[in-house]
Amino acid sequence: MQFGIFSVSDITRDPVSGETPSEAERIDAIVRIAQKAEDVGMDVFAIGEHHNPPFFSSSPTTLLAFIAATTSRLLVSTATTLITTNDPVRIAEEYAMLQHLSKGRMDLMLGRGNTAPVYPWFGQDIRQSLPLALENYNLLHQLWREDVVDWKGKFRTPLQGFTSIPRPLDDVPPFVWHGSIRTPEIAEQAAYYGDGFFANNIFWPKEHYIRLIGFYRQRYAYYGHGTEEQAIVGLGGQAYIARKSQDARQDFRPYFNEAPVYGHGPSMEDFMDLTPLSVGSPAEVIDKTLTFREHFGDYQRQLFLMDHAGLPVTKVLDQLDLLGGEVVPVLRKEIAARQDPGTPDAPTHASLVRAKYGDETPRQPRPNANRGDNVTGGSPYQDTAAKSRPEYPEL
């Protein structure tokens, strides 16, 4: 079981101090938060992708490459990478590069994005977002698995003899999670490819997620990737922790009340009753988090939202001390004791390499020499099967 944090990358006024951090301050803060996550023993740091203020994370692979370079154990990921408004070819290239630089300490989570104006800024249409997401991922999946791709679809210009470079590290594609809270087609696609499925688990009451995760598990088994219990499930959640329950509620209330998405709406107590939000002592957060597996089945990754709604970086770092120091160690122990012993871990680069090669040496693609024209595709790598290589006349 992996534990980590995920950030929306919002830049929000601190309702207590009245200060709004600058973009520069918030970007510095997120790096410290990610590094702290590793220091306190968390496994995963994931960042969102946005293309409008008041967010800062438009270029997740740049940020994550820096974080990977300044950490040694932390797995970097996204929450989410936009599979609709990004060209899947660019996703294939950028994340393969991140995979090389981080030595495989990365994966990514795909999402559609629900901000209507962003779509036309990138030449897309939100009304087509579902077929666009599905088609784009079909292409991305292929680009990471075939050296040379011929492809034609509805939304993107066709590809002939295209090779996405660099090839994935050890020729093992990054593991992909599909984030969705209400779209059976996304669950179906995750199941079809044997990818992970992630429910952000923040807004809707849990019954909605339970049904969709159940459908994903069932289809994962149907496509022959394993049993329903072996399907790869991730969940979000959010917590605010203090040693004493009252202190947690008192500290967090002004942030809750002004939070960008649910602020000025339901009371914090209603939200705690009806959603996975926990605000309280370490023991209360542990108890609530332990209920997740009872509802959704044993799962592989738990991410907490810790740095939103204008919480100052010092508070977030204190939160991570409590989360990593007092909550997660107990959760690891309790979940290990309770979960089905056959529950698989979330795939990592190392486990995927082992699954593909066993004791063999992983493939290391070496390109053929540049013939000078830069366009003669067909067999770009020295170990590409001879039969698919074009033949050239002796000069």
């Binding site: 599905l134 088609e135 509805k154 939304f155 087609e185 696609q189 809707w204 649910y262 339901p266």
Partner: protein, 241 residues
């Protein structure tokens, strides 16, 4: 939330004739803000006449009142945060299971009260397809009379509900005018006949899938998943149509 209230693409479907012996379920939405309120009074009088009339036809009616005043905070939470509280969900379930609906709202500023429209705004588009609805409004002046036909009717048309022909409107002077009773009687006849016809149930049985639905819509009852769609084929590695 009972499942299988509506036929879904997985093939669950309620038998058409089951309802013959069941009481009619009547949902009454009142957006009146005082207690008692004339808006609620108008709704109650329609409901009473409908029950009497149904009884004459040998049918009983179970009425459920949704007093929006009591769930106003839940409605505003849902509007701004997508959080559906249990109390709001209970109201949604009542509407989703109703054979007939009486919707009664006050008019304040040449338009339906914001409480009423806010409630309608948080409902799923497919919650009350084909259900017979009595439209009723109250106001402090007769100059608001057209709100029923010009605003309320189009709102329920958007929801694909079946609004009954007679619209009811009561300004202060109408409460002393027997003509209001006559219109209430007329509306009750229209409502009861439409409930008796089983039109809404038949529409749902015959063509539920031809309306647009989302996973979890129809108040949380639409949980069927059709694996045979173009999008599902695309999800499983196929190509876009």
């Amino acid at each position: 939330m009972p499942e299988g209230t509506h036929p879904t693409s997985t093939g669950r479907s309620a038998p058409v004739n089951d309802a013959a012996q069941e009481p009619f379920s009547l949902a009454i939405i009142s957006a009146g803000t005082s207690d008692p309120s004339s808006t609620r009074l108008l709704a109650d009088r329609i409901a009473d006449r409908s029950c009497e009339l149904a009884a004459c036809h040998g049918r009983t009616v179970t009425s459920n009142v949704i007093e929006l005043r009591e769930i106003s905070a839940d409605i505003s939470s849902a509007l701004v945060s997508q959080l559906i509280t249990p109390r709001l969900q209970a109201a949604i379930t009542v509407l989703g299971e109703a054979d007939g609906i009486i919707a009664s709202a006050p008019v304040y500023k040449a338009g339906l009260s914001g409480l009423f429209t806010s409630f309608i705004d948080v409902l799923d588009d497919d919650l009350i397809i084909a259900r017979p609805v009595v439209l009723a409004a109250t106001a402090g002046t007769a100059r608001h009379a057209l709100v029923v036909d010009e605003q309320m009717r189009s709102m329920f048309a958007y929801l694909r509900a079946l609004t009954i022909p007679t619209g009811l409107f009561a300004a202060p002077e109408d409460w002393g005018d027997p003509a209001l009773n006559k219109r209430i009687d007329r509306a009750a006849v229209e409502l009861v006949l439409l409930m008796e016809s089983g039109f809404a149930r038949k529409i749902r049985d015959a063509s539920w899938d031809s309306y647009q639905h989302e996973y979890g819509s129809a108040g949380g009852t639409e949980v069927g998943i059709d694996l045979g769609t173009d999008l599902m084929r695309l999800a499983a590695g196929g190509s876009a149509a």
